[in-house]
């Protein structure tokens, strides 16, 4: 999968590059609006990660240029620290697929990219295998040997996010933010995530051993696969 990062903050772009490359994406950079427009004109990308405040113009114009090209399927995620109230609406109305406000967690970015991939390619990768379990992303269910587990919406979300970030420790904080959204002053120390994880683990353990579902003391959780 090809990703174009349109971002004038080099350090940030490089961190995103490192993270996404490790996930298997092929990353290209554009530091300016003009070079971004050139690159978009020449190549097709699976993802365009677009910053709005570019040194030589507005990221919205890049989005407009892209939408003027025929037969393009590039998914656009707007990444911005800009604080205009209607930016999000403007971006989504302008044809962006998603909108992330800086600062964002790279895990969250990855989750959003996966969600877009699933939406765009309905038939591919709708089922994820994890040990003896199968996640049906489309129908938001988890099954064990074709038996569906009675998971709540939140439990599925947690499981899905952990599976997506498998082999990485996911902190309570980023899990909370992903599942409950960005409620201001969310209390990241609160253990109400733990209650859901405990229930989830109980339901999984009833079917098979879950020693791969690890609790990392005082930080969060990790699924090893």
């Amino acid at each position: 999968m090809n990703v174009l990062i349109v971002e004038d903050e080099k350090s940030l772009a490089l961190e995103m590059d490192e993270f996404l490359s490790r996930e298997g994406y092929i990353v290209e950079h554009a530091w300016k609006k003009s070079s971004a427009e050139e690159k978009i004109f020449v190549n097709n990308y699976d993802f365009i990660l677009l910053d709005l405040g570019l040194p030589d113009g507005d990221g919205f114009e890049v989005l407009k240029q892209l939408k003027n090209l025929k037969d393009r399927e590039d998914a656009v995620i707007i990444l911005t620290a800009r604080s205009e109230v209607d930016d999000r609406i403007k971006g989504l109305d302008g044809g962006a697929d998603d909108y992330l406000a800086k600062p964002f967690s790279l895990n969250e970015l990855l989750a959003r990219m996966h969600a877009i991939t699933r939406r765009k390619h309905k038939l591919e990768k709708n089922e994820v295998k994890i040990h003896d379990f199968t996640l049906d992303i489309q129908n938001r269910t988890v099954s064990y040997n074709d038996d569906r587990l009675p998971l709540t919406k939140k439990e599925f979300e947690i499981f899905n996010y952990l599976v997506l970030n498998k082999n990485r420790v996911v902190s309570r904080m980023s899990l909370t933010e992903h599942v409950w959204g960005d409620i201001l002053e969310v209390n990241s120390d609160s253990n109400f995530v733990d209650v859901h994880v405990k229930n989830l683990r109980k339901k999984l353990t009833q079917c098979s051993k879950t020693d791969w579902f690890e609790t990392v003391r005082s930080i969060g959780y990790r699924i090893n696969y």
Binding site: E9, S11, L12, E15, M16, E18, F19, R22, A81, R82, S83, E84, V85, K102, P103, F104, S105, L106, N107, K154, R168, V169, S171, M173, S174, E177, W180, G181, I183, L184, E185, V186, N187, S188, D189, S190, N191, F192, V195, H196, S218, I219, G220
Partner: protein
């Protein structure tokens, strides 16, 4: 006491003073003039009397009695001639006195001339008196009418003064009302001058205008500053958090380092929350939001309950929603949602395990009141009064609020003209009431 009343009072006092002085002068001069007038008449009469004296008359007068007294029928004047012994020097000066005399049972005030003279080697004392009663009654009448005229003119000038100052000061009160009292926000200030031809008021008006310009410039500067600073801080935070997340993906990371990095991410998250809260407050205060949504309070509360249900269940809190009516308020839905989330979130956060949260409604004349009551730890009175200030919070070891939740609530409430009130008692809970205006 206002300026108008002071003007009127000052005018009244000065007028009364002037009237008193004038009245006294007039009355005194009336007294002097009338006395002087009588005195000259008496002096003329004395001359006549002295001219008409001759031996016979005096003799016959004096012989019969020790003194001679005569007065006319109406007791308006009298004359008394008395022989006095020749002892010492003769006093030839004329003296005038006013005295009351009883003549045949009638008491009257007389102006009396006293004189001594010698005639044929005898010394006499002469008293000529003329009544002052007519004069007194004239004086009383003059006094009375003067008083009436003066009082009437005083009242008339007072009324006209009051009306005139009222008219003159009208622009002043207009300036006070429109340029100071009715201004809630320097950005929505009307710079149009209040029409007046009084130079002082024009100066006042212009001074207030220029003051307001300065204030609103500073206001804008501060808001811009907060918005810019917040915005500029978010980018480096993004970089840092990306970097830390990449370090975490390394395979051979020692566990204690991993812990430190997670703790750093948490600190970054805290920074992010603070900055986002400040940004939100500054955007609300900059009025960058529209107020055009029809917000159903009931619906919002249901949504919020869904979002926060886990936390409520986790703390085993009894949650009672007693909202029956579907009140619709015109405002910004996202902001109203944030406001309610913050309040209910606090009610959960500062509640005790197995406590309760009750949401009630009240319809009154001025609007719709929503009450969120909890049985939490509450706070001291002085803390409750400062609760809406930024970064004010009670030190609490278990919770890591950043003291901005209620500041956000406050700015959103102000933006929507909601009255918000917080009542709390230590260890017995808190009641937040929000009054939504109707219409």
């Amino acid at each position: 006491m206002n300026l108008q009343a002071k003007f009127a009072l000052y005018n009244a006092i000065t007028k009364i003073a002037i009237i008193l002085v004038l009245g006294t002068i007039i009355l005194l001069s009336l007294e002097t003039i009338s006395s002087h007038h009588l005195d000259t008449r008496l002096a003329k009469k004395r001359l006549k009397v002295i001219e008409n004296l001759d031996d016979k008359e005096i003799d016959s007068l004096i012989k019969s009695r020790q003194s001679f007294t005569d007065y006319n029928i109406l007791k308006e004047e009298f004359i008394v001639l008395t022989a006095i012994p020749k002892a010492g020097k003769i006093d030839t000066t004329l003296t005038f006195t006013s005295e009351t005399r009883e003549i045949e049972g009638e008491i009257e005030i007389y102006r009396i001339l006293n004189d001594q003279f010698e005639f044929n080697n005898k010394r006499y004392k002469l008293e000529i008196g003329e009544t002052m009663t007519a004069m007194e009654s004239i004086k009383t009448t003059i006094r009375f009418y003067m008083l009436i005229v003066l009082v009437i003119s005083l009242l008339i000038t007072l009324i006209t003064d009051y009306a005139f100052t009222n008219f003159i000061l009208r622009p002043f009160y207009k300036i006070i009302d429109q340029k100071l009292n009715k201004v809630n926000n320097p950005t929505s200030y009307n710079y149009q001058n209040i029409p007046t031809n009084t130079t002082d008021f024009k100066i006042l008006d212009n001074s207030i205008n220029s003051l307001m310009r300065k204030i609103s410039d500073l206001f804008l500067l501060e808001k811009q500053f907060i918005a810019n600073v917040s915005h500029e801080l978010l980018t480096p935070i993004s970089i840092l958090s990306g970097r830390l997340e990449n370090i975490l993906t390394a395979d051979n990371l020692p566990i204690e380092h991993e812990n430190k990095i997670f703790a750093s991410l948490k600190t970054l998250n805290r920074l992010k929350v603070i900055i986002n809260s400040l940004l939100l407050i500054s955007k609300v205060e900059n009025e960058q939001y529209l107020k055009k949504d029809n917000v159903s309070i009931k619906h919002q509360l249901d949504e919020i309950y869904e979002d926060l249900e886990d936390r409520i269940l986790d703390k085993k809190i009894v949650y009672q929603n007693r909202i029956k009516s579907d009140f619709i308020f015109t405002g910004n839905q996202a902001l109203i949602h944030t406001l309610l989330v913050n309040i209910i979130n606090n009610a959960i956060k500062y509640n005790v395990a197995k406590g309760s949260i009750t949401i009630e409604e009240e319809l009154c004349q001025s609007g719709y009141i929503l009450k969120i009551c909890d049985t939490g730890i509450g706070m001291e009175k002085e803390i409750a009064t400062n609760a809406f200030n930024r970064f004010e919070r009670e030190n609490n070891e278990n919770e890591d609020g950043f003291g901005l939740g209620l500041a956000i609530v406050n700015s959103i409430a102000k933006f929507h003209q909601l009255n918000i009130d917080i009542k709390s008692e230590k260890n017995s809970g808190t009641v937040v009431s929000i009054e939504f205006p109707v219409g």
